[in-house]
């Protein structure tokens, strides 16, 4: 439809802008929705409570940390849903992995290498992620080779792994976790500080610019249509601006005065008049999420594995006829989901400072909702990593926002559930109109 009007008439300013910048309308839509939620909660807070708490460095920093765990798993759920499967077990598997890591670092390793030994956090993380990968691989094998529907396998997994976590711990809470391990969950110490954040920001900015320049060079080499120079600059400036903005934001959130006082006392620093300003900077779980996003985006867009994931989702039979081993792919996809769940378990239990068998309860629903709100189609073949992570941010923003303005838990559930259904409906409308 838009194609016809574009060729017949002079394309409008907006159309021309979208064409030249090659921006994804869906991405813009999601960013717009997110901005609306953020501003909405802020203004509502300002009007009804006299204080808009949402758009503050402190809240946005916390929001980023709270999103990390769900966001990491959502990156894996995208693959599962694209290939027309579902994973209902991730919450339970998260609890199971957390418990495994908990007993590794609380019950076993201290006896072997001594309490608070430097290697404990590494071994614990590896054990947790291996456990997650194995659980996922078992699910994948049952689905692919025994032809049991993913819904059933992972519904069974939801019960099995939660029960297993309880059996291992006998219902006890496993704590205290290793202090280095706990840094992976964020908090004032679990963040990289102002300088570290600038280093991360500069690397990201260089990467963005390099990608733009390399992309242009590739297009030239193959004689494809180039983006106009102004569009390249526009995208570059917006992207670098976003990076710098994020760094400024996380650096604007200082450590609480109590922690600053203790830190100053421990390091013999005189606290100046008006207090000492120590920035949080990016929290470590957020950096883990960023790394997952980058790696998974490359995997999905630039590797054969990712291409086959989409192909299987689009037409499983065609994928098999093209020589793709679809069964083995299913095992790998679920193993990857399990690995990311294990990684998410690291973040979640480190943030809590302990491991309990109830950790991650209902997470599967939030992860699936994040992926679906982010544009992953349950009928398969369609979905993006950035979409799922944005979806996770939308979910978390809604919840955080409602807590800030004092809605109680029941209302939160009603709203989150309603938004999920509404988001899928809007996505359907978008898809129909873009066809």
């Amino acid at each position: 439809m838009s194609e016809h009007s574009a060729t017949r008439n002079q394309p409008g300013l907006v159309q021309r802008f979208m064409r030249d910048t090659e921006l994804d309308t869906r991405l813009l839509g999601m960013l717009g929705a997110l901005a609306l939620i953020w501003v909405g909660f802020h203004v509502y807070g300002a009007l009804s409570n006299g204080f808009g708490a949402f758009l503050t460095p402190r809240n946005l920093w916390n929001l980023s940390v709270q999103t990390a765990s769900i966001g990491i798993m959502a990156c894996g759920m995208v693959l599962v849903i694209i290939t027309r499967h579902i994973d209902l077990s991730v919450g339970s598997v998260l609890g199971f992995c957390a418990v495994i890591m908990g007993i590794t670092q609380v019950w076993f390793l201290p006896k072997l290498v001594g309490l608070e030994h430097w290697s404990i956090w590494i071994i614990a993380c590896v054990v947790g992620m291996v456990a997650g990968t194995l659980v996922g691989a078992i699910h994948g094998w049952l689905i692919a080779y025994l032809s049991i529907p993913a819904f059933i396998v992972t519904l069974g997994g939801l019960l099995v792994w939660r029960g297993a976590a309880f059996l291992i711990t006998r219902g006890e809470t496993i704590s205290p976790l290793d202090s280095t391990f706990k840094l992976l969950g964020g908090g004032p110490n679990g963040a990289v500080g102002a300088t570290g954040s600038w280093i991360v920001g500069i690397i990201a900015a260089i990467a963005v610019v390099a990608m733009i320049i390399m992309g242009r060079a590739r297009r030239k080499r193959f004689d494809f249509r180039l983006r106009p120079i102004w569009a390249e600059w526009f995208i570059g400036i917006i992207s670098v601006g976003a990076v710098v903005g994020a760094v400024l934001l996380v650096n604007a959130y200082p450590w609480p005065t109590g922690i600053v006082r203790r830190y100053a006392a421990a390091n013999d620093i005189e606290i100046p008049e008006g207090g000492l300003f120590i920035s949080h900077g990016f929290a470590i779980p957020v950096l883990i999420l960023l790394a997952v996003i980058v790696v998974m985006t490359v995997v999905m867009n630039r590797t054969r594995f990712g291409r086959y994931v989409y192909a299987i989702g689009g037409n499983p039979e065609a994928a098999a006829l093209a020589g793709i081993n679809t069964r083995w792919m299913t095992v790998k996809i679920f193993a990857l989901m399990g690995f990311l769940t294990g990684l998410s378990a690291v973040v979640a239990s480190a943030r809590l400072g302990s491991a309990t068998n109830a950790l991650g309860t209902l997470d599967e629903l939030y992860v699936i909702a994040a992926a679906v709100i982010g544009g992953t189609s349950l009928s398969g073949g369609v979905g993006t990593i950035y979409g799922a992570v944005l979806g996770a941010f939308v979910m978390q923003s809604l919840q955080t926002g409602m807590v800030l303005i004092g809605f109680d838990a029941a209302v939160q559930q009603v709203v989150v559930g309603g938004v999920l259904v509404l988001a899928v409906y809007l996505d359907n409308l978008y898809r129909r109109s873009s066809k």
Binding site: R302, R307, A311, G314, A320, A322, G381
Partner: protein, 255 residues
């Protein structure tokens, strides 16, 4: 053209092929062969076993018994990958395209071009796709769209491009014109003639007797999983072929 006698080694020699699904003999002791530069039509009712026979050759099904020889050598085809290794390419009736991927991704599916780092090189693939499509279907422009946005003919040309691009020696075409308009059907006919001239052997599955009479050198007719017979197209009439398909009788014996 059909009066030429096929001497030498056949490109494909399928001998005594059997496969059954749950007790039904879908293909029952069938033997067919194919020589370079030859088009062999496979005819029969729905469910006669044509597509099943061809899926054994393309690696989609594993036969229960029988032997396949490619260029005179025993070939072990267990998967679509194996078939491709023997330069056997297939255009399926369903086209077997992933609707959510673009033309280039479908063209190279399972055989992606990669950069030195091992990453999929989309630009190189699109560039190659543009070259082959310029030859097959010069009007084709929708390289950025998923193939679900293409017309039937455009989708067909993507499926054909995939088979032709990788230098097939043996081409299997399952109902290649079933979904096409007259213009596109003409295009496929011309392509078959051109490929034949290049020495490629083609198995053509078709319902359309006229297609077969026009394009094929020989025709093998199947009924209920069994081979009725193989005839030189020049020696038979439309009615002969029809009676083979419907009655399962060899024309010589019937006369």
């Amino acid at each position: 053209m059909s009066s030429k006698t096929n001497t030498g080694t056949p490109l494909i020699d399928m001998r005594d092929i059997c496969i059954s699904f749950g007790g039904v003999h879908a293909v029952d002791h069938v033997s067919v062969d194919l020589y370079p530069g030859e088009v062999v039509g496979l005819l029969g009712h729905n469910g006669a076993g044509k597509s099943t026979l061809i899926k054994i050759l393309s690696g989609a099904y594993k036969m229960d018994s029988g032997e396949i020889y490619v260029n005179g050598e025993r070939a072990d085809i267990r998967s679509p990958r194996d078939a491709r290794r023997y330069n056997i390419e297939t255009i399926y009736q369903t086209l077997a395209l992933a609707d959510n991927l673009d033309a280039a991704s479908n063209l190279f599916l399972g055989r992606e071009l990669t950069s030195p780092l091992g990453l999929v090189d989309d630009d190189a693939m699109e560039s190659e796709a543009r070259k082959i499509m310029a030859r097959l279907n010069p009007n084709f422009q929708k390289f950025k769209d998923p193939v679900s946005a293409l017309s039937g003919g455009q989708r067909q040309s993507v499926a054909i491009a995939r088979a032709v691009y990788f230098n097939a020696q043996i081409l299997i075409m399952d109902e290649p014109t079933a979904a096409l308009g007259p213009h596109e059907t003409q295009m496929v006919s011309e392509l078959i003639t051109q490929l034949k001239a290049e020495g490629i052997g083609i198995f053509l599955i078709s319902h359309d007797i006229h297609d077969v009479m026009e394009l094929c050198d020989r025709a093998s007719v199947m009924k209920n999983g069994k081979l009725v017979g193989t005839v030189d197209v020049a020696d038979v009439t439309d009615d002969d072929l029809l009676s083979m398909i419907i009655l399962g009788k060899q024309p010589g014996k019937a006369a």
